[in-house]
Symmetry: C2
Subunit: 373 residues, 2 copies
């Protein structure tokens, strides 16, 4: 197996764990937050800048790259790493989530999903085999099985059928993937908010022995307690010697709760998306930098931040840039937000090492809680 | 005087000259191309990136900064250098060009110009004194006198009146500027395409003794031969111990012709603007990178380029980024175009040193001439 997980330390007070994942393009310290580079670029940033933030792995998107520029073109370019000039580990999602959330007029069959492109309406068909074929062409270090992420809320019967189909698709993905020395493949646990379905999903996927396991179908609009509950009964079922990846989580509070419940990896477009809308995440809560009250605020975005933006620019300058639609505004805020989450995860790893994660969490919340705009 | 020009070498075959300008924020090798940072940012770039291109001075814009965020705010921030995190020399234009080209419903009086903001229609009045006041607040190294740049074509009578008013305004600018140790001030030669008016303008401005002299009112739509003719009879009238700045020139051919006629400094938004529209300047001519023919072209933008973009990315990747509206596309092409012009000017300086500028020009044109899209 090309993907190896090494457990370094377990928290005594929570289910959090410190670990290391080995991939063909380098090692990853876990728990980790993965910046998202949907279309073969982390929006607004160069790969060198992403690396300078402390990012160790990025995520890219099968559905989007399949439509544009096409996976064959990327394969011809020498694979995604070379195409986009990122030589660290890359995880690609399976396209399932986007097919279901972006594709128009989708028809789900046992064979796969027929849909129309959200760009030009053209007709496409993605099967589990096709999802693997695309990801093989991209050459990512970690691939994901093609799955259906049911929306929230969903009834028991539909969730059950969908989870069972996702399991059958996982088997087909596994059968279709050949070069396990080059790329790992994760199974995705589904089953909505139903404990017996989650248990069934885990049990069936474990029998197939994947490189790691993702927990899908969370962070889809359910209350945080529901997510925590699902994690509480799901994560302990996953094997200790494989990485666990919670899909679509990217706010500090959700990251804390996930890590405490044994999650190793998470990703989300949120920090980069809100950055481009002018919202900065800081140790003192979120600030909407466009607000007039920052027009003569010559302090940095976050007094406790070590990022390029906070070292060199004032809130007043960044607000001005947003105010006149300058691209540097988007860059500076993106750098800051990603560094904020990555540094928070660095602190979380340090806290697990020192076995004081709950203490660090309390301290973090005490600061983060107030002064939300 | 805070601005000093040192003549290093004169070309024997042309009027080109190699020199060095000293400013409060450092030295500038001339002839030089100055990237434009209209709104306190060179569009898409950080100051460090601009410096890495070899840029030694940038230009910023009085009219735009006066409207947003306001010159008082920038003064409060510690001046433009500190506000935008650029510690090299800055030249600010006087706002004249934008008042006339962007301001709505402008009324020109002897006192100054009344106009409405192109952003929100608010009413403003800029006089020569006000233009200096704004530039004093910005703290640029080189300020420009408030002038009127007449459009092309313009009749003799209007051009004469306008030039004479610009001269009277120059005197008022000079009288209003106090701290000559901190900031230099350039006079702007006007007079359209009329030789006697240009001569009159030069004569009157020289009597006032500015830090340097700009040639305005060119590159406004006239044929290249007309510009060359005006430079042919204007530049020799300017003093040898002061820098000469041709405003608004930024294509390689115009830069060659200007330098050959004794110009030391030039600026233009063109390289950055066409970059954002997907056009790259290369040693083999311009290429429109959005074109389908580059979709599988894995070569670099320019085979002879040493920029970050050409070192790391293919045409196919940059085309993909444009195709999916990614900001990195604008960044990579901007970096390339600016580096292209800056490197061309480096080569021009080297050629003046070796006294083979005309030979270098022929060689440059031979390559640049073909393969325009």
């Amino acid at each position: 197996m090309t993907i190896k997980y090494e457990l370094i330390k377990k928290s005594t007070e929570t289910n959090a764990r410190l670990g290391k994942i080995t991939t063909p393009h380098g090692e990853i310290d876990t728990p980790i937050f993965m910046p998202v580079g949907t279309r073969a670029t982390v929006k607004t940033m160069t790969p060198e800048e992403v690396k300078d933030l402390g990012a160790q792995i990025i995520l890219s998107n099968t559905y989007h790259l399949y439509l544009k520029p096409g996976h064959e073109l990327i394969e011809e370019a020498g694979g995604l790493h070379r195409f986009m000039n990122w030589n660290g580990p890359i995880l690609t999602d399976s396209g399932g989530f986007q097919v279901f959330s972006l594709g128009d007029l989708r028809k789900i069959r046992e064979e796969g999903v027929e849909f129309r492109s959200h760009i030009d309406g053209s007709k496409h068909f993605i099967s589990p085999e096709k999802a693997i074929e695309i990801q093989n062409a991209l050459g990512s270090d970690i691939m994901m099985c093609f799955d259906e992420c049911v929306s929230y809320p969903a009834d028991y019967e539909y969730t059950k059928q969908s989870m069972e189909r996702t399991t059958r698709w996982a088997q087909r993905c596994k059968d279709h993937h050949k070069d396990w020395d080059k790329q790992g493949l994760f199974g995705i646990v589904q089953g909505g908010m139903y404990r017996d379905l989650r248990e069934q999903s885990v049990q069936d996927l474990l029998a197939m022995d994947f490189s790691g396991y993702a927990i899908g179908g969370l962070s889809v609009g359910e209350p945080m307690e529901t997510m925590c509950e699902v994690l509480d009964y799901t994560t302990p079922l996953l094997p200790e010697d494989k990485p666990r990846y919670l899909m679509g989580v990217g706010t500090p509070d959700y990251l804390f709760e996930a890590v405490i419940r044994g999650v190793d990896m998470a990703d989300c477009v949120l920090p980069t998306r809100i950055a481009r809308n002018g919202t900065a995440m800081t140790t003192q809560g979120k600030i909407v930098i466009r607000n007039a009250k920052y027009s003569k605020d010559f302090s940095k975005l976050d007094p406790d931040c070590d990022c390029y933006t906070c070292k060199n620019y004032s809130r007043a300058y960044i607000r001005h840039l947003f105010n006149v639609d300058e691209i540097l505004a988007l860059r500076l805020t993106t750098i800051h937000n990603l560094r904020f989450l990555i540094r928070t995860m660095e602190n979380i790893r340090e806290a697990i090492k020192n076995d004081n994660l709950l203490e660090y969490k309390d301290e973090f919340y005490k600061n983060y809680g107030y002064s939300e705009d």
